[in-house]
Symmetry: C2
Subunit: 325 residues, 2 copies
Amino acid sequence: MSDRSLLIGLDFGGTKLAAGLVDPARGDLVASVRRPTEPEGGATLALATMLEMARELVANTPGEVGGVGINFGGPVDAAAGVVLQSHHVAGWDGFPLAARVGAALGLPTTLENDANGQALAEWRFGAGRGSRSMAYLNVGTGIGGGIVLEGRLWRGAHGMAGEFGHMVVRPGGPVCTCGRGGCLEALAAGPAMGRRARAALAAAPPEIRDRSAMLRRAGSVAAVTGRELTGAAADGDTLALEVLDAIFADLALGIANILSGVDPDLLVLGGGAADWAPTLFARLLEGVRTVCLPGTENQIALSPAALGADAGIFGGAAIVLQPRA
Amino acid sequence: MSDRSLLIGLDFGGTKLAAGLVDPARGDLVASVRRPTEPEGGATLALATMLEMARELVANTPGEVGGVGINFGGPVDAAAGVVLQSHHVAGWDGFPLAARVGAALGLPTTLENDANGQALAEWRFGAGRGSRSMAYLNVGTGIGGGIVLEGRLWRGAHGMAGEFGHMVVRPGGPVCTCGRGGCLEALAAGPAMGRRARAALAAAPPEIRDRSAMLRRAGSVAAVTGRELTGAAADGDTLALEVLDAIFADLALGIANILSGVDPDLLVLGGGAADWAPTLFARLLEGVRTVCLPGTENQIALSPAALGADAGIFGGAAIVLQPRA
């Protein structure tokens, strides 16, 4: 593969399939295509659809394509190129995805899980460009993460490094999807944000609740999610800011623990967090400064992720460029 | 330096100075000498004493000495070879220790802080030999740590990586030396162990207190420290085991967070923890299994440190052998 080759990034997500051609030298997305995931079609349909998308991209580019990187939304054995499982679509358990895609497209193909791929993508093409080390925290339906040290993904001994969503920060706190209590994910991921906002609305006096910008945005208490919470908070809604400050206090604890344990140059927040208004981001930074190890307040560097919905595609390309262990 | 050179390891601790000659190929301590620290003499006396010890070692060995590694009990700028500060002895702030020792002994000299040096020592010469990645947790007067990934120390962007003692695991918990509440160090380091044991004895009914093996070992409630706690617990003392189980529940939370964030092959426990009876170690492992991310119970590897009081000397040698960034 020459330095001027384009790379195919394939992003198998829970709700969408995305494929793109990335120019690694320029950090550009040359072309991309996206389709919804059809869970009832299982792994077979998802793979066939993705291969069709990839072939379409290759057919329409005059450039040379040097490799394929797959970003998969679930645990994988990266070294073996095999999917371990998918929570969203049937048929993926033990699937040799890298080998199948590589054979179908006739190109060297590598596989990584989505949080790791996004972390590498932000380090190489996004908010982490130029940093020596970077931790990545994806705040979405769950909280995932990744660690990039001197340009290399640190996967961990069992592929679990960067699983910051399952750091217990409030022992005995709300029950997590993992079954334990007080994980960062159970306190500060999207569903927890919605839950905490709805609980605050339900507990508020009617005159406060009825004036809440969260309610106005969602239509009903039951329809309030993390999106209405952060939107209303960005508009200055008092109740939303109160709820968000409590959530940010938990998230800040998790971030402070990452900073004192891993001590990266930069922590990048992706997923829904990348869309938070700058005023909210500043509020979170202030929260981290309040709970961090005293004396380290001024060395904290947080940044929203820069690649948005294309992070998965860029992640595929970044995986190909990653030195192999 | 040839592969068969001996290395000098110098260990500047809070209460003692130790120097040794290490045969790196065999992992042997060829010779060593130790003297108490005299804090009133400041950095000047400590350095002079240490140089005298090092010269004595060199004079008495027939082998070739290839380099010097210094393990310093306090924060250092490893790249610059400069001590940042010492909590125990005056005169160290900003001291160019590596350059001064190097010039005095005429040997290439490198500097590292003690937790990082001990981590490297355990990885290269001790309990972590053969592991691909290792986290180190020193449970002593404080809780320090270090991270070794594929044979290299990960120092972090600000030299703080592995500061696991300041992971907040019980927000609002006991006040830490850092000023915050609920740090691992404030819950499970030696002083916290003593404090929790004394509080349990003070709160126990007289007939329980008076029969406690902790009291028998210490002579009075006020004299009980972590040592009497772990000794009595190893003997099966019920109250000591109760206190220790509560402490281990906190320590286990911290360890579980390290495992899911850094995911090393092995976690090595040094300091006082290395001397805990095997039954206590087994109890801690069970505690980690209880609070770890479900599904990871069987991949947990904990080990007591193997180098004991020589860890600092071996740390010096391991620092010299560390590839430079």
